[in-house]
Amino acid sequence: MTAQVRFRDLTLGYDRHPAVHHLDGAVPRGALMAVVGPNGAGKSTLFKGIVGALAPLAGKIDLCGLKTRDIAYLPQAADLDRAFPISVYDLVAMGLWRQTGLFGRIGARAGEQVHRALAAVGLTGFEQRPIGSLSGGQMQRVLFARLLLQDARLIVLDEPFTAIDSQTAADLLAVVRRWHAEERTVVAALHDLDLVKAHFPEVLLLAREPVAWGAAADVLTPDNLRKARHMCEAFDEAAAECAA
């Protein structure tokens, strides 16, 4: 197994309080991995660490040679200004940044790629719509189309299927499975355990501390899930310094 992302005694957090505590292990190259755990378990924090938006309090994240631009990241709540007057086509085309850079022209070939990406998420015909006119599910489809064009080796999805209907979730899951077939590494935070069991071979159960990590069937046991639920969510202002 070749690793794509390796965590070495990783602690991430805010103001010295750990949100992910002493995580060790590696995500294999080409893995399709779900990160599950209660709200506040550190899933989003872990992802921010992976994409470099948050520096570790201790330990290391080794991206095994990947650069920032090789990683595509879908945050839980994208800080996207939906009121900005930009068309679906233009927003999705930004996924081609690696090809076009600051000044590159978006020519006929690139235009074809944008149309194919929109078709893949079921949004053919939406090219000229302003993003402000889209529904929540359509917006999520647009963001997936942009992820498709980013052509990234590592794709990090923070709760991609939350608050969207089952049809949209199914369509977007098909895109995720396509990435897996193309041997890209996909890491996704999810809450729907049935969906995880059905489609995600590898699972990390996180509750600030890593509770279990491995094959879905071994990780998602009643015993492990109970342990994860009992995690203490609140930061302790009077906590002593961690000795480990």
Binding site: A78, L91, G101
Partner: protein, 289 residues
């Protein structure tokens, strides 16, 4: 009749031609900058920055009198310094950028008026606050034209990161490091255009040719390029109509230009195709799908 009303003032009087040329150049540069300020929800920041250049220009006046170079350099330095300081305070303390700017520009305005009064007369003060669009000399015109040319070139260069930084700054950070430099370059353009407009319209009205056309454009277009075209057209129309009004009715020229832009704004609020009041109050029948 039509000729003598609309054309003759410009063909017969050089100061009218100069004023027109100055306003046309300002509209070309300030229009697009204003559209981006509005889209980034920084409209009031333009206003704050226009006040912030006053003490710099006033210090230049104190040192060298009404000298184009001294006023421009002073204004630029003060404007850029306030932009940088406000950004610094916002990033290092709990104060948000708008509050930090408000603090700096109020102090700047008071300081500027004080400095001008130290040496100059009330006429000088009026020149600083409201400009003298009917007395633009060659060098000032060249300066204003240079500023708008530079603005258009720089905007073309930073267009993509600037748009993306408005829509989805998180995504821009993940693909490129161009966000921060583009933001800085844009702020520099804001200051430059305000300093250019300051010579023609004074600190209090300089921001008018920047924000009013942008606000008008928002009511007529749904995409950025069209907004910019409309903003420039609005600025130019305000310039022509405002100067003619001032000529025939004996109004002060700078305020007449801004008032014309204001009238276009009110018209757009009422009749605008995109979210105007008339459309709200008398909506057309809904469509089938």
């Amino acid at each position: 009749m039509l000729y003598s009303t609309l054309i003759a003032p410009f063909t017969e009087f050089e100061f009218m031609r100069r004023a027109l040329a100055g306003i046309l150049a300002l509209a070309l540069g300030a229009g697009p900058v204003g559209v981006f300020l509005m889209l980034r929800r920084m409209s009031l920041m333009g206003d704050a920055m226009s006040h912030a250049i006053l003490p710099g220009a006033a210090a230049g006046f104190l040192l060298a009198g009404l000298n184009l170079f001294a006023l421009t350099a002073g204004g630029l330095i003060a404007g850029l310094a306030v932009a940088a300081l406000a950004g610094l305070v916002a990033r290092t303390t709990e104060l948000k950028e708008d509050a930090a700017l408000a603090a700096f520009f109020l102090v700047s305005l008071a300081l500027g008026v004080t400095i001008v009064s130290l040496r100059g007369s009330n006429i000088d003060l009026l020149h600083f606050l409201f400009g003298s669009v009917l007395a633009l000399d060659d060098r000032t015109l060249v300066l204003i034209a240079a500023i708008s040319s530079l603005s258009l070139i720089v905007l073309a260069l930073i267009w993509r990161p600037l748009v993306l930084e408005c829509v989805d700054p998180g995504f821009l950070r993940s693909v490129s490091r161009a966000g921060a430099p583009a933001h800085m370059a844009f702020l520099a353009l804001v200051v430059l255009n305000l300093v250019g407009a300051f010579h023609a319209l004074g600190t209090l009205l300089a921001v008018g040719l920047m924000m009013l056309p942008a606000a008008v454009a928002r009511f007529w277009a749904r995409d950025v390029s069209a907004m910019i075209a409309i903003a420039i057209a609005t600025g130019i129309a305000s310039g022509i109509v405002g100067l003619l009004l001032s000529f025939h009715a004996g109004l002060p020229a700078g305020p007449a230009v801004i008032l014309t832009a204001g009238a276009l704004y009110v018209g757009s609020v009422v009749f605008g195709r995109v979210g105007g009041l008339a459309r709200r109050l008398a909506p057309r029948r809904h469509l089938e799908a």
